[in-house]
Protein backbone atom coordinates (compact mmCIF):
# COMPACT_ATOMS: atom_id res chain seq x y z
CA UNK A 1 0.00 0.00 0.00
CA UNK A 2 2.40 2.65 -1.18
CA UNK A 3 -0.23 5.39 -1.48
CA UNK A 4 -1.36 5.37 2.09
CA UNK A 5 1.92 6.77 3.40
CA UNK A 6 2.21 9.49 0.81
CA UNK A 7 1.55 12.69 2.75
CA UNK A 8 3.61 12.17 5.92
CA UNK A 9 6.68 10.95 4.02
CA UNK A 10 6.67 13.82 1.58
CA UNK A 11 6.26 16.32 4.38
CA UNK A 12 9.04 14.89 6.43
CA UNK A 13 11.29 14.33 3.44
CA UNK A 14 11.42 17.89 2.21
CA UNK A 15 13.76 19.08 4.94
CA UNK A 16 16.17 16.11 5.32
CA UNK A 17 16.67 15.90 1.57
CA UNK A 18 17.91 19.46 1.58
CA UNK A 19 20.23 18.79 4.49
CA UNK A 20 21.63 15.74 2.73
CA UNK A 21 22.48 17.95 -0.22
CA UNK A 22 24.40 20.17 2.16
CA UNK A 23 26.18 17.10 3.53
CA UNK A 24 27.45 16.31 0.02
CA UNK A 25 28.87 19.79 -0.31
CA UNK A 26 30.23 20.20 3.20
CA UNK A 27 32.17 16.98 3.29
CA UNK A 28 31.21 13.40 3.71
CA UNK A 29 32.37 12.38 0.28
CA UNK A 30 35.48 14.52 0.48
CA UNK A 31 36.33 13.79 4.13
CA UNK A 32 39.97 12.89 4.64
CA UNK A 33 40.44 9.57 6.39
CA UNK A 34 44.03 8.80 7.40
CA UNK A 35 43.12 5.26 8.42
CA UNK A 36 41.85 4.45 4.95
CA UNK A 37 44.93 5.99 3.34
CA UNK A 38 47.08 3.89 5.63
CA UNK A 39 45.24 0.68 4.82
CA UNK A 40 45.15 1.46 1.10
CA UNK A 41 48.92 1.89 1.11
CA UNK A 42 49.51 -1.32 3.05
CA UNK A 43 47.07 -3.38 0.99
CA UNK A 44 48.30 -2.04 -2.32
CA UNK A 45 51.94 -2.68 -1.50
CA UNK A 46 51.28 -6.20 -0.26
CA UNK A 47 49.35 -6.97 -3.44
CA UNK A 48 52.02 -5.30 -5.55
CA UNK A 49 54.89 -7.25 -4.04
CA UNK A 50 53.19 -10.62 -3.98
CA UNK A 51 51.92 -10.28 -7.54
CA UNK A 52 55.28 -8.96 -8.74
CA UNK A 53 57.04 -11.96 -7.28
CA UNK A 54 54.58 -14.68 -8.21
CA UNK A 55 52.75 -13.46 -11.29
CA UNK A 56 54.09 -10.47 -13.18
CA UNK A 57 57.66 -11.76 -13.13
CA UNK A 58 56.96 -15.18 -14.66
CA UNK A 59 54.27 -13.82 -16.97
CA UNK A 60 56.32 -10.98 -18.38
CA UNK A 61 59.40 -13.10 -18.81
CA UNK A 62 57.31 -15.76 -20.54
CA UNK A 63 55.81 -13.13 -22.83
CA UNK A 64 59.20 -11.69 -23.63
CA UNK A 65 60.66 -15.11 -24.25
CA UNK A 66 57.79 -15.98 -26.53
CA UNK A 67 58.19 -12.69 -28.38
CA UNK A 68 61.87 -13.42 -28.83
CA UNK A 69 61.09 -16.98 -29.92
CA UNK A 70 58.62 -15.76 -32.52
CA UNK A 71 61.12 -13.22 -33.81
CA UNK A 72 63.76 -15.92 -34.00
CA UNK A 73 61.41 -18.20 -35.88
CA UNK A 74 60.60 -15.45 -38.35
CA UNK A 75 64.28 -14.70 -38.83
CA UNK A 76 65.03 -18.37 -39.31
CA UNK A 77 62.21 -18.71 -41.81
CA UNK A 78 63.58 -15.78 -43.78
CA UNK A 79 67.09 -17.22 -43.87
CA UNK A 80 65.70 -20.58 -44.91
CA UNK A 81 63.73 -18.90 -47.67
CA UNK A 82 66.78 -17.06 -48.88
CA UNK A 83 68.79 -20.25 -48.84
CA UNK A 84 66.11 -22.07 -50.75
CA UNK A 85 65.99 -19.30 -53.32
CA UNK A 86 69.76 -19.50 -53.68
CA UNK A 87 69.57 -23.24 -54.20
CA UNK A 88 66.76 -22.81 -56.71
CA UNK A 89 68.76 -20.22 -58.59
CA UNK A 90 71.77 -22.55 -58.67
CA UNK A 91 69.63 -25.41 -59.84
CA UNK A 92 68.20 -23.31 -62.62
CA UNK A 93 71.66 -22.28 -63.65
CA UNK A 94 72.82 -25.89 -63.65
CA UNK A 95 69.79 -26.95 -65.61
CA UNK A 96 70.37 -24.25 -68.22
CA UNK A 97 73.99 -25.25 -68.44
CA UNK A 98 73.09 -28.90 -68.82
CA UNK A 99 70.54 -27.99 -71.47
CA UNK A 100 73.02 -26.04 -73.54
CA UNK A 101 75.58 -28.79 -73.11
CA UNK A 102 73.14 -31.39 -74.29
CA UNK A 103 72.23 -29.26 -77.26
CA UNK A 104 75.87 -28.84 -78.09
CA UNK A 105 76.46 -32.55 -77.84
CA UNK A 106 73.51 -33.30 -80.06
CA UNK A 107 74.61 -30.72 -82.57
CA UNK A 108 78.13 -32.09 -82.62
CA UNK A 109 76.82 -35.61 -82.95
CA UNK A 110 74.63 -34.59 -85.82
CA UNK A 111 77.49 -32.84 -87.55
CA UNK A 112 79.72 -35.82 -87.03
CA UNK A 113 77.05 -38.15 -88.31
CA UNK A 114 76.48 -36.00 -91.36
CA UNK A 115 80.16 -35.90 -92.05
CA UNK A 116 80.49 -39.60 -91.56
CA UNK A 117 77.55 -40.31 -93.83
CA UNK A 118 78.97 -38.08 -96.53
CA UNK A 119 82.33 -39.73 -96.21
CA UNK A 120 80.91 -43.21 -96.33
CA UNK A 121 78.72 -42.39 -99.29
CA UNK A 122 81.62 -40.88 -101.13
CA UNK A 123 83.81 -43.81 -100.33
CA UNK A 124 81.13 -46.21 -101.46
CA UNK A 125 80.65 -44.23 -104.62
CA UNK A 126 84.35 -44.23 -105.43
CA UNK A 127 84.62 -47.88 -104.56
CA UNK A 128 81.72 -48.73 -106.76
CA UNK A 129 83.06 -46.71 -109.64
CA UNK A 130 86.45 -48.32 -109.10
CA UNK A 131 84.85 -51.75 -109.15
CA UNK A 132 82.86 -50.89 -112.21
CA UNK A 133 86.01 -49.68 -113.90
CA UNK A 134 87.96 -52.78 -113.02
CA UNK A 135 85.05 -54.97 -114.13
CA UNK A 136 84.92 -53.15 -117.42
CA UNK A 137 88.63 -53.59 -117.86
CA UNK A 138 88.35 -57.24 -117.08
CA UNK A 139 85.52 -57.64 -119.53
CA UNK A 140 87.61 -55.88 -122.14
CA UNK A 141 90.57 -58.13 -121.43
CA UNK A 142 88.39 -61.23 -121.60
CA UNK A 143 86.92 -60.05 -124.86
CA UNK A 144 90.36 -59.39 -126.26
CA UNK A 145 91.59 -62.75 -125.08
CA UNK A 146 88.50 -64.46 -126.54
CA UNK A 147 89.06 -62.74 -129.89
CA UNK A 148 92.70 -63.77 -129.96
CA UNK A 149 91.68 -67.29 -129.16
CA UNK A 150 88.99 -67.21 -131.74
CA UNK A 151 91.45 -65.97 -134.30
CA UNK A 152 93.88 -68.84 -133.62
CA UNK A 153 91.03 -71.27 -133.63
CA UNK A 154 89.74 -69.94 -136.89
CA UNK A 155 93.22 -70.15 -138.33
CA UNK A 156 93.51 -73.70 -137.14
CA UNK A 157 90.12 -74.53 -138.55
CA UNK A 158 91.07 -72.96 -141.82
CA UNK A 159 94.26 -74.93 -141.89
CA UNK A 160 92.38 -78.12 -141.13
CA UNK A 161 89.74 -77.30 -143.75
CA UNK A 162 92.44 -76.59 -146.20
CA UNK A 163 94.14 -79.78 -145.33
CA UNK A 164 90.94 -81.70 -145.97
CA UNK A 165 90.30 -79.95 -149.20
CA UNK A 166 93.81 -80.51 -150.25
CA UNK A 167 93.49 -84.10 -149.34
CA UNK A 168 90.29 -84.30 -151.40
CA UNK A 169 91.40 -82.61 -154.61
CA UNK A 170 95.00 -82.11 -154.99
CA UNK A 171 94.90 -79.39 -157.47
CA UNK A 172 97.50 -77.13 -156.28
CA UNK A 173 96.69 -74.23 -158.45
CA UNK A 174 93.04 -74.29 -157.74
CA UNK A 175 93.54 -74.80 -154.03
CA UNK A 176 95.83 -71.95 -153.79
CA UNK A 177 93.28 -69.75 -155.38
CA UNK A 178 90.58 -70.94 -153.08
CA UNK A 179 92.69 -70.44 -149.94
CA UNK A 180 93.59 -67.00 -151.02
CA UNK A 181 90.06 -66.00 -151.56
CA UNK A 182 89.04 -67.53 -148.28
CA UNK A 183 91.64 -65.66 -146.35
CA UNK A 184 90.56 -62.58 -148.14
CA UNK A 185 87.05 -63.23 -147.10
CA UNK A 186 87.99 -63.88 -143.47
CA UNK A 187 89.92 -60.74 -143.15
CA UNK A 188 86.97 -58.86 -144.64
CA UNK A 189 84.59 -60.46 -142.21
CA UNK A 190 86.71 -59.67 -139.23
CA UNK A 191 86.71 -56.06 -140.01
Amino acid sequence: MLHSGLSPIVKENSVPMLTSGIIVLSGGLLDPNPGLIFWTTITFFIVLFILKKFTWGPMLSALEEREKGIQDSIDRAYTAKEEAEEVLRKNKELLAKADSEAEKIIREGKEYGDKLRAEITEKAHSEASKMIASAKEEIEQEKRRALTELRTEVADLAVKGAEKIIMANLDAEKQKKIVDSMIQELSQNRN
Partner: protein
Amino acid sequence: MKRFRALRTRDIVRIAVLIMPLLFGVGALAYAAPAQEPGAAAAHGEEEHGSAGDVIMHHLLDSNVMAFEPFGEFELPKIVVGGFDISITRHVLFMWIAAVILLLVFGYVGSKYKSIGNRQAPGGLANAMEALVEFIRLDVAKSNIGEGYEKHMPYLLTVFVFILVLNLLGLVPYGATATGNINVTLTLSVFTFLITQVSAIKAHGIKGYLAHLTAGTHWALWIIMIPIEVIGLFTKPFALTIRLFANMTAGHIVILSLIFISFIMKSYLVAIFLSVPFSIFIYLLEIFIAFLQAFIFTMLSALFIGLASSHESHEAEAAH
Protein backbone atom coordinates in the same frame (compact mmCIF):
# COMPACT_ATOMS: atom_id res chain seq x y z
CA MET B 1 20.62 -31.81 -25.61
CA LYS B 2 23.88 -30.34 -24.46
CA ARG B 3 23.29 -27.33 -26.60
CA PHE B 4 19.85 -26.85 -25.18
CA ARG B 5 21.27 -26.97 -21.69
CA ALA B 6 23.96 -24.45 -22.62
CA LEU B 7 21.26 -22.18 -23.98
CA ARG B 8 19.32 -22.47 -20.78
CA THR B 9 22.37 -21.68 -18.65
CA ARG B 10 22.93 -18.63 -20.77
CA ASP B 11 19.38 -17.49 -20.25
CA ILE B 12 19.69 -17.96 -16.51
CA VAL B 13 22.88 -15.94 -16.52
CA ARG B 14 21.11 -13.24 -18.49
CA ILE B 15 18.25 -13.08 -16.06
CA ALA B 16 20.68 -13.02 -13.14
CA VAL B 17 22.52 -10.13 -14.76
CA LEU B 18 19.29 -8.22 -15.11
CA ILE B 19 18.30 -8.89 -11.53
CA MET B 20 21.71 -7.87 -10.20
CA PRO B 21 21.08 -4.12 -10.40
CA LEU B 22 17.86 -4.58 -8.50
CA LEU B 23 19.65 -6.43 -5.74
CA PHE B 24 22.16 -3.65 -5.85
CA GLY B 25 19.42 -1.24 -4.89
CA VAL B 26 18.34 -3.44 -2.05
CA GLY B 27 19.29 -0.68 0.36
CA ALA B 28 16.33 1.19 -0.97
CA LEU B 29 14.06 -1.37 0.67
CA ALA B 30 14.97 0.20 3.96
CA TYR B 31 13.53 3.39 2.66
CA ALA B 32 10.45 1.65 1.33
CA ALA B 33 9.76 -0.07 4.63
CA PRO B 34 8.23 2.92 6.44
CA ALA B 35 6.03 3.62 3.43
CA GLN B 36 4.47 0.19 3.74
CA GLU B 37 3.70 0.68 7.39
CA PRO B 38 2.19 4.09 7.72
CA GLY B 39 1.56 5.86 10.94
CA ALA B 40 3.78 5.23 13.92
CA ALA B 41 6.24 3.10 11.99
CA ALA B 42 6.82 5.88 9.48
CA ALA B 43 8.26 8.20 12.07
CA HIS B 44 10.39 5.39 13.41
CA GLY B 45 11.69 4.63 9.89
CA GLU B 46 12.53 8.25 9.34
CA GLU B 47 14.68 8.36 12.41
CA GLU B 48 16.50 5.21 11.47
CA HIS B 49 17.14 5.66 7.77
CA GLY B 50 16.61 9.30 6.97
CA SER B 51 15.71 10.59 3.53
CA ALA B 52 16.56 9.20 0.11
CA GLY B 53 19.64 11.43 -0.05
CA ASP B 54 20.83 10.10 3.30
CA VAL B 55 20.37 6.51 2.16
CA ILE B 56 22.37 7.23 -0.96
CA MET B 57 25.09 8.92 1.06
CA HIS B 58 25.04 6.03 3.50
CA HIS B 59 25.60 3.69 0.57
CA LEU B 60 28.48 5.72 -0.82
CA LEU B 61 30.29 6.70 2.35
CA ASP B 62 32.65 4.61 4.34
CA SER B 63 31.37 3.24 7.65
CA ASN B 64 32.15 0.81 10.40
CA VAL B 65 29.09 -1.28 9.67
CA MET B 66 28.69 -4.08 7.15
CA ALA B 67 24.99 -4.02 6.41
CA PHE B 68 23.24 -6.98 4.79
CA GLU B 69 19.69 -5.70 4.77
CA PRO B 70 17.24 -7.15 5.36
CA PHE B 71 19.24 -9.93 6.96
CA GLY B 72 21.11 -7.83 9.48
CA GLU B 73 24.45 -6.16 9.95
CA PHE B 74 27.65 -6.46 11.93
CA GLU B 75 30.09 -3.92 13.24
CA LEU B 76 33.71 -3.85 12.18
CA PRO B 77 36.46 -3.41 14.78
CA LYS B 78 37.65 0.07 15.65
CA ILE B 79 41.40 0.46 15.98
CA VAL B 80 43.06 3.63 17.20
CA VAL B 81 46.86 3.74 17.29
CA GLY B 82 48.65 6.82 18.63
CA GLY B 83 45.66 9.07 18.10
CA PHE B 84 45.16 7.87 14.53
CA ASP B 85 41.96 6.10 13.70
CA ILE B 86 43.00 3.10 11.59
CA SER B 87 39.85 1.09 12.14
CA ILE B 88 38.83 -1.56 9.63
CA THR B 89 36.04 0.12 7.70
CA ARG B 90 33.76 -1.15 4.94
CA HIS B 91 36.08 0.11 2.23
CA VAL B 92 39.13 -1.40 3.89
CA LEU B 93 37.31 -4.70 4.04
CA PHE B 94 36.42 -4.49 0.34
CA MET B 95 40.01 -3.65 -0.50
CA TRP B 96 41.04 -6.79 1.31
CA ILE B 97 38.42 -8.81 -0.53
CA ALA B 98 39.80 -7.39 -3.77
CA ALA B 99 43.33 -8.24 -2.64
CA VAL B 100 42.30 -11.82 -1.84
CA ILE B 101 40.56 -12.19 -5.22
CA LEU B 102 43.62 -10.82 -6.99
CA LEU B 103 46.02 -13.01 -5.07
CA LEU B 104 43.92 -16.11 -5.75
CA VAL B 105 43.38 -15.44 -9.44
CA PHE B 106 46.86 -14.21 -10.25
CA GLY B 107 48.56 -16.62 -7.89
CA TYR B 108 46.91 -19.39 -9.87
CA VAL B 109 47.88 -17.77 -13.17
CA GLY B 110 51.46 -17.24 -11.99
CA SER B 111 51.77 -20.85 -10.89
CA LYS B 112 50.44 -21.93 -14.31
CA TYR B 113 53.17 -19.90 -15.97
CA LYS B 114 55.79 -21.50 -13.78
CA SER B 115 54.53 -24.99 -14.52
CA ILE B 116 54.13 -24.74 -18.27
CA GLY B 117 57.21 -24.78 -20.41
CA ASN B 118 58.41 -22.21 -22.85
CA ARG B 119 56.99 -24.10 -25.78
CA GLN B 120 53.53 -24.62 -24.32
CA ALA B 121 50.73 -22.17 -24.88
CA PRO B 122 48.79 -21.12 -21.79
CA GLY B 123 45.12 -22.00 -21.70
CA GLY B 124 41.98 -20.98 -19.89
CA LEU B 125 42.32 -18.35 -17.19
CA ALA B 126 46.05 -17.93 -17.76
CA ASN B 127 45.39 -17.21 -21.41
CA ALA B 128 42.66 -14.67 -20.60
CA MET B 129 44.89 -12.87 -18.12
CA GLU B 130 47.72 -12.96 -20.61
CA ALA B 131 45.61 -11.00 -23.07
CA LEU B 132 45.09 -8.38 -20.38
CA VAL B 133 48.75 -8.27 -19.43
CA GLU B 134 49.78 -8.10 -23.07
CA PHE B 135 47.36 -5.23 -23.62
CA ILE B 136 48.81 -3.25 -20.71
CA ARG B 137 52.32 -4.12 -21.80
CA LEU B 138 52.06 -3.11 -25.44
CA ASP B 139 49.26 -0.55 -25.72
CA VAL B 140 49.68 1.18 -22.39
CA ALA B 141 53.27 0.84 -21.19
CA LYS B 142 55.33 0.37 -24.34
CA SER B 143 53.55 2.98 -26.42
CA ASN B 144 53.51 5.64 -23.67
CA ILE B 145 56.71 5.10 -21.72
CA GLY B 146 58.86 3.74 -24.49
CA GLU B 147 62.32 2.59 -23.50
CA GLY B 148 62.68 1.22 -19.99
CA TYR B 149 58.98 0.47 -19.65
CA GLU B 150 59.74 -2.95 -18.16
CA LYS B 151 60.51 -1.68 -14.69
CA HIS B 152 57.16 0.13 -14.46
CA MET B 153 55.17 -2.90 -15.59
CA PRO B 154 54.49 -4.42 -12.13
CA TYR B 155 53.10 -1.13 -10.83
CA LEU B 156 50.92 -0.48 -13.86
CA LEU B 157 49.55 -4.01 -13.94
CA THR B 158 48.84 -4.06 -10.22
CA VAL B 159 47.17 -0.66 -10.25
CA PHE B 160 45.03 -1.74 -13.21
CA VAL B 161 43.76 -4.99 -11.76
CA PHE B 162 43.40 -3.50 -8.26
CA ILE B 163 41.24 -0.62 -9.46
CA LEU B 164 39.31 -2.91 -11.80
CA VAL B 165 38.40 -5.38 -9.07
CA LEU B 166 37.51 -2.58 -6.63
CA ASN B 167 35.28 -0.98 -9.26
CA LEU B 168 33.56 -4.27 -10.02
CA LEU B 169 33.09 -5.11 -6.33
CA GLY B 170 31.00 -1.95 -6.08
CA LEU B 171 28.57 -3.47 -8.57
CA VAL B 172 28.04 -6.66 -6.56
CA PRO B 173 24.99 -6.71 -4.28
CA TYR B 174 25.90 -5.53 -0.79
CA GLY B 175 29.19 -4.37 -2.23
CA ALA B 176 30.91 -1.05 -1.71
CA THR B 177 33.12 0.85 -4.10
CA ALA B 178 36.40 1.62 -2.41
CA THR B 179 37.47 3.54 -5.52
CA GLY B 180 34.47 5.78 -4.90
CA ASN B 181 36.24 6.98 -1.79
CA ILE B 182 38.54 9.92 -2.41
CA ASN B 183 41.11 8.71 0.12
CA VAL B 184 41.71 5.52 -1.83
CA THR B 185 42.03 7.24 -5.20
CA LEU B 186 44.23 9.91 -3.63
CA THR B 187 46.60 7.28 -2.27
CA LEU B 188 46.81 5.53 -5.63
CA SER B 189 47.48 8.75 -7.51
CA VAL B 190 50.13 9.74 -4.97
CA PHE B 191 51.91 6.50 -5.90
CA THR B 192 51.77 7.51 -9.54
CA PHE B 193 52.98 11.00 -8.61
CA LEU B 194 55.94 9.63 -6.66
CA ILE B 195 56.90 7.21 -9.43
CA THR B 196 56.62 10.03 -11.97
CA GLN B 197 58.88 12.33 -9.95
CA VAL B 198 61.43 9.59 -9.20
CA SER B 199 61.66 8.59 -12.84
CA ALA B 200 61.95 12.24 -13.89
CA ILE B 201 64.83 12.76 -11.47
CA LYS B 202 66.44 9.51 -12.62
CA ALA B 203 66.13 10.51 -16.26
CA HIS B 204 67.42 14.09 -15.99
CA GLY B 205 69.25 14.29 -12.67
CA ILE B 206 68.42 16.73 -9.89
CA LYS B 207 69.72 19.64 -11.96
CA GLY B 208 67.66 18.77 -14.98
CA TYR B 209 64.63 18.20 -12.81
CA LEU B 210 64.95 21.66 -11.25
CA ALA B 211 65.69 23.20 -14.62
CA HIS B 212 62.47 21.71 -15.88
CA LEU B 213 60.59 23.65 -13.20
CA THR B 214 61.77 26.91 -14.84
CA ALA B 215 60.56 25.64 -18.21
CA GLY B 216 63.75 27.04 -19.79
CA THR B 217 62.66 30.67 -19.56
CA HIS B 218 64.61 33.77 -18.63
CA TRP B 219 65.34 34.09 -14.88
CA ALA B 220 63.16 37.18 -14.62
CA LEU B 221 60.16 35.04 -15.44
CA TRP B 222 60.97 32.41 -12.84
CA ILE B 223 58.78 34.05 -10.26
CA ILE B 224 55.81 33.25 -12.49
CA MET B 225 57.03 30.05 -14.13
CA ILE B 226 58.08 28.12 -11.05
CA PRO B 227 54.71 28.34 -9.28
CA ILE B 228 52.95 27.44 -12.52
CA GLU B 229 55.17 24.42 -13.10
CA VAL B 230 54.82 23.30 -9.48
CA ILE B 231 51.05 23.59 -9.74
CA GLY B 232 51.32 21.68 -13.02
CA LEU B 233 53.10 18.86 -11.20
CA PHE B 234 50.25 18.53 -8.73
CA THR B 235 47.34 18.89 -11.13
CA LYS B 236 48.11 15.56 -12.74
CA PRO B 237 47.64 13.39 -9.63
CA PHE B 238 44.78 15.65 -8.56
CA ALA B 239 43.02 15.00 -11.86
CA LEU B 240 43.63 11.27 -11.48
CA THR B 241 42.18 11.35 -7.98
CA ILE B 242 39.05 13.26 -8.88
CA ARG B 243 38.43 11.43 -12.16
CA LEU B 244 38.30 7.96 -10.66
CA PHE B 245 36.49 9.03 -7.49
CA ALA B 246 33.86 11.10 -9.30
CA ASN B 247 33.20 8.48 -11.96
CA MET B 248 32.64 5.72 -9.48
CA THR B 249 30.55 7.88 -7.15
CA ALA B 250 28.44 9.41 -9.88
CA GLY B 251 27.41 6.05 -11.34
CA HIS B 252 26.19 4.85 -7.98
CA ILE B 253 24.34 8.07 -7.27
CA VAL B 254 22.60 7.83 -10.63
CA ILE B 255 21.52 4.21 -10.14
CA LEU B 256 20.28 4.82 -6.60
CA SER B 257 18.51 8.03 -7.60
CA LEU B 258 16.71 6.22 -10.41
CA ILE B 259 15.55 3.55 -7.99
CA PHE B 260 14.49 6.15 -5.44
CA ILE B 261 12.38 7.97 -7.98
CA SER B 262 9.85 5.14 -7.80
CA PHE B 263 9.81 5.30 -4.00
CA ILE B 264 9.43 9.05 -3.95
CA MET B 265 6.70 9.02 -6.62
CA LYS B 266 5.12 5.97 -4.95
CA SER B 267 4.08 4.51 -8.26
CA TYR B 268 4.50 1.06 -9.73
CA LEU B 269 4.30 2.53 -13.21
CA VAL B 270 7.33 4.70 -12.58
CA ALA B 271 9.14 1.70 -11.19
CA ILE B 272 8.37 -0.50 -14.20
CA PHE B 273 8.87 2.03 -16.97
CA LEU B 274 11.50 4.34 -15.54
CA SER B 275 13.43 3.13 -12.52
CA VAL B 276 14.07 -0.48 -13.44
CA PRO B 277 14.98 -0.16 -17.13
CA PHE B 278 17.06 2.94 -16.62
CA SER B 279 18.90 1.61 -13.61
CA ILE B 280 19.66 -1.59 -15.53
CA PHE B 281 20.99 0.50 -18.38
CA ILE B 282 23.15 2.58 -16.05
CA TYR B 283 24.29 -0.57 -14.29
CA LEU B 284 25.50 -2.08 -17.55
CA LEU B 285 27.14 1.23 -18.37
CA GLU B 286 28.81 1.08 -14.97
CA ILE B 287 30.38 -2.28 -15.84
CA PHE B 288 31.89 -0.66 -18.88
CA ILE B 289 32.99 2.35 -16.83
CA ALA B 290 34.62 0.07 -14.27
CA PHE B 291 36.90 -1.23 -17.02
CA LEU B 292 37.28 2.15 -18.65
CA GLN B 293 38.31 3.99 -15.50
CA ALA B 294 40.80 1.30 -14.50
CA PHE B 295 42.26 1.56 -18.00
CA ILE B 296 42.32 5.36 -17.94
CA PHE B 297 44.05 5.49 -14.59
CA THR B 298 46.71 3.07 -15.81
CA MET B 299 46.99 4.79 -19.17
CA LEU B 300 47.44 8.24 -17.65
CA SER B 301 49.92 6.91 -15.10
CA ALA B 302 51.96 5.45 -17.95
CA LEU B 303 51.60 8.67 -19.92
CA PHE B 304 52.80 10.83 -17.01
CA ILE B 305 55.74 8.53 -16.37
CA GLY B 306 56.58 8.60 -20.07
CA LEU B 307 56.32 12.39 -20.23
CA ALA B 308 58.46 12.86 -17.15
CA SER B 309 61.21 10.49 -18.23
CA SER B 310 61.54 11.13 -21.94
CA HIS B 311 59.93 14.39 -23.05
CA GLU B 312 62.69 16.61 -21.69
CA SER B 313 65.53 14.60 -23.19
CA HIS B 314 63.94 14.88 -26.63
CA GLU B 315 63.81 18.64 -26.22
CA ALA B 316 67.42 18.68 -25.12
CA GLU B 317 68.41 16.60 -28.12
CA ALA B 318 66.53 18.93 -30.42
CA ALA B 319 68.26 21.94 -28.88
CA HIS B 320 71.76 20.56 -29.45
